[in-house]
Amino acid sequence: MRNTIFEENAEILANVKHPGDQFVMRVRAPKTAAAARPGQFVHLRVSGERPMRRPISIMLTDPEKGTVDLLVKAIGEGTRLLRERKVGETMPMLGPIGRPFDLSDTSKRYVLIGGGVGVPPMIFCAMALRGKAPMVVFAGSEVEFPFALKPSTAILPGVGGNAILGIASLEDRGIASRLASNAGLYGCFEGHVPDLARNYLAALSDDERARCVLLSCGPHPMLHAVARVGREFGIPAYLSLEEHMACGIGGCAGCVVKTIEGGEEKYRRVCVDGPVFESSLLPEFA
């Protein structure tokens, strides 16, 4: 399936800075907002100084208001320039791009595991799954979370102790969530977020666990751990990857990841063949 990709001059409506060089940006891009699905990204020309575009995961859209929310961490020159952009300014933006997460099987229980700036696609997935399939969101961060937090009212098997907080916007919509951190953040599971998810999965009955699917986005070490959890319990793990990107629409084959399909090694384009891949196809994560 090929969706149309739109080039919009996205107007910055908000740019809220958070600890750890994180910022949440809301832009007006009605066509992307209307078409985007969880797991897709936008390709932003952040500045004339650095005209190559930067791929940024979509956190949430409001199709009625025509807005797209992005969570970014300023880690390189491009994202640092993006952080300094002001409300009212515009940026050329291509979107939505990429194969989204497959959320079509509503008989499954979706376990969403996000780390750092990999949390946004999990929020988008959760909003899309709401009322359709059972799910739980686990989010990890080593700096203060860039979201409002509140005590979670959901009781999750295998999740106890200090892990009492959830993401407020999810909890308010009846979506269960829990947090993990190694930085001693209040109300979080002390450890890595895949371990939190593992504790939850281990406490499920065999039948319940067999229905689970892992969806994940985050740093590579975290994705490795998520793939291991999937293997340990024999459940599929879908990982959203990132790679240096040039065109962002499949024209240059610059952003590849190695896959093994039918015994044959291939390089697939992260931008349009991904960014979501099943972990068993990826030798790096197998």
């Binding site: 090929r2 969706n3 149309t4 990709i5 739109f6 080039e7 066509k31 020309r45 650095r50 005209p51 190559m52 575009r53 491009g78 050329p92 291509l94 790679e243 240096h244 990107m245 040039a246 065109c247 962002g248 629409i249 499949g250 024209g251 240059c252 084959a253 610059g254 952003c255 590849v256 990841v257 190695k258 090694e265 291939k266 390089y267 349009v272």
Partner: protein, 318 residues
């Protein structure tokens, strides 16, 4: 998914060009390696194949190639490095499975032929000869593969032998892509013209590298990559200027390229001798740049009371 071209109808008369015996609807040519096998940019709302005279398909070799490990691309000041490594499914696959899907009524598609031996190049030419591509670009200047490629392009005698090997295999125009990484581009141009090339692509990327200081490793897995984008524009203009001095004596057209991002860039390349205007990295900056370029070129031609784009080619006063 392509939308109807929106440029005014009078532009077609001004901007269509003759290139190596082909009639191109505009002088803009999308460059090999930047637009996949012609099916990617058509997904973008507002993009139209009708705005370009030709689309050059991703480089093809006789056998499929996996390409290089990542990272393959990296942004540098005013440009980018790439080392894709000619990832492609093989020339036969392109002819049998890709070309039948392409909208040949919207624009021309050209092949880009690569090889690691003279026999490879000849066979790839033969395969594309029996296909709907209207021309074959010879890539003797790819810097990112260990065998073939630039090793032919950096040796003027070998470059000419590649053209000689391909010439009897096809009646389609052959366009030889010259490397900027050799000492005397004009000498290479003269030799490939004498060997039977119908056109010249000037220039391919300049070889460069980038370093990750935290890891003390090259950013590009291939260590070196090809530098493209506005950073190389002055070099490209100079190489086109040098090549044009030879090419015009033989009435061989040049497809100028190297950092062209806007109408102003296109005009500069035309003035130094480019009959056609190649766009690569500029598409990554703005995938809808072609319409804007055509509009800017038209405005310039009108302002200078020039009836055709071609009348601008090689008009440098010096």
């Amino acid at each position: 998914m392509t939308s109807e071209s929106v440029h005014p109808s009078n532009i077609a008369a001004e901007l269509s060009i003759d290139f190596a015996g082909l009639k191109l609807q505009t002088p803009l040519v999308l460059l090999s390696g930047c637009v996949g096998f012609g099916e990617e940019f058509t997904r973008i709302e507002g993009y139209s194949n009708r705005d370009v005279g030709a689309v050059i398909l991703k480089g093809a070799t006789l056998e499929p190639r996996m390409g290089n490990a990542p990272h393959r691309v990296y942004e540098t000041p005013s440009g980018m490095l790439n080392a894709i490594g000619l990832q492609n499914p093989g020339a036969r696959y392109v002819v049998e499975h890709v070309l039948p899907r392409l909208p040949h009524h919207e624009t021309q598609f050209w092949a880009n032929a690569n090889g690691s031996s003279l026999q490879d190049y000849a066979e790839v030419a033969r395969i594309f000869d029996d296909s709907p591509v209207t021309a074959i670009e010879i890539n003797i200047s790819c810097p990112n593969v260990k065998e073939g490629g630039v090793h032919f392009g950096n040796d003027p005698v070998m470059a000419a032998r590649v053209v000689e090997a391909m010439r009897p295999m096809t009646s389609k125009p052959l366009i030889t892509k010259l490397s900027p990484n050799n000492a005397d581009i004009a000498d290479t141009a003269r030799r490939v013209i004498e060997a039977g090339t119908d056109g010249l692509s000037v220039i391919n990327t300049l070889v460069g590298m980038a370093v990750d200081t935290e890891k003390r490793k090259p950013v590009i897995a291939n260590v070196s990559g090809g530098l493209s984008g506005p950073a190389i524009k002055p070099v490209a203009l100079w190489k086109v200027h040098q090549t044009y001095a030879v090419a015009k004596q033989h009435h061989i057209p040049i497809l100028g390229q190297g950092g062209i991002c806007c109408a102003q860039d296109a005009l500069e390349f035309a003035i130094v001798g480019s009959s056609a205007i190649g766009i690569g990295t500029g598409l990554f900056y703005d995938p809808l740049t072609c319409k804007k370029m055509l509009s800017g070129i038209s405005e310039y031609l009108n302002r200078h009371q020039l009836e055709t784009f071609s009348s601008l080619v090689g008009s440098l006063q010096h």
